[in-house]
């Protein structure tokens, strides 16, 4: 079975631009969570979606938004990019509401110049 997939792998954007990151969960998983990992730190929670509804939001500005589609795939959108948004963006999926074991994708490396 395929694991969690994310696209693109790498991305370079300019300050002020907008970016969309995509995630496909493991087949049968209904929960998707998004995390941001900056160098030297652990992943920080951004959003969780379960059955297409937002179930949790971390301490991130409104420039960050997400949605989940009927096939349970998800998009993370970031508007008005700042240099500080440069990070590895990780998507994780799980069977239930998500507090249990989560399976991570390889991540999207975003660089903002």
């Amino acid at each position: 079975d395929a694991g969690v997939t994310q696209s693109p792998t790498h991305l370079i954007k300019t300050r002020g631009q907008h970016v969309t990151l995509r995630c496909s969960p493991i087949s049968g998983h209904k929960s998707v969570s998004w995390y941001q990992q900056v160098l030297g730190q652990g992943p920080q929670f951004i959003f969780q979606y379960y059955e297409k509804e937002e179930r949790g939001r971390g301490n991130f500005p409104d420039r960050f938004s997400a949605r989940q589609f009927p096939n349970y795939s998800s998009e993370l959108n970031v508007n008005a990019l700042l240099l500080g948004d440069s990070a590895l963006y990780l998507c994780a999926s799980s069977l239930g509401t998500g507090g249990e074991k989560q399976y991570f994708g390889p991540g999207t490396r975003l660089t903002v110049t």
């Binding site: 969690v4 929960s31 969570s33 995390y35 030297g40 730190q41 652990g42 992943p43 920080q44 929670f45 969780q48 979606y49 379960y50 179930r55 949790g56 971390g58 990780l90 994780a92 799980s94 239930g96 509401t97 998500g98 507090g99 249990e100 074991k101 989560q102 399976y103 991570f104 994708g105 390889p106 991540g107």
Partner: protein
């Protein structure tokens, strides 16, 4: 406010010996704890987890110990192998008053484990 802390940025161990990675937490609402391993350019890979109703969980070479009174957990790897060299993260999740678990994992900063042949 760092609710999950891994105070050792790095750990170096000889092959065949025991590796002990430590993690402390402050949020008493955390009720499920996980350890992940991460190689460069890959996402975190789940290793082992433990519920707050237990104090020990084993899976092959990996054992996690939980001391709720001290708000401390540790991961023991015995015997350590060079392939275990990676960044190790501990993570925790909590339930709300209604007993529903959140899809939010709170991670520590990570510990770089190096196992020398």
């Amino acid at each position: 406010d760092q609710q999950v802390k891994q105070n050792s940025p790095s750990l170096s161990v000889q092959e065949g010996r025991i590796s002990i990675l430590n993690c402390d937490y402050t949020n008493s609402m955390f009720d499920y704890f996980l350890w992940y391993k991460k190689y460069p350019a890959e996402g975190p890979t789940f290793l082992i987890s433990i519920s707050s109703i237990k104090d020990k969980n084993e899976d092959g070479r990996f054992t996690v110990f939980l001391n709720k009174s001290a708000k401390h957990l540790s991961l023991h790897i015995v015997p350590s192998q060079p392939g275990d060299s990676a960044v190790y993260f501990c993570a925790a999740s909590e339930r709300n008053a209604g007993g529903t678990s959140y899809g939010k994992l709170t991670f520590g900063q990570g510990t770089i484990l190096t196992v020398h042949p």
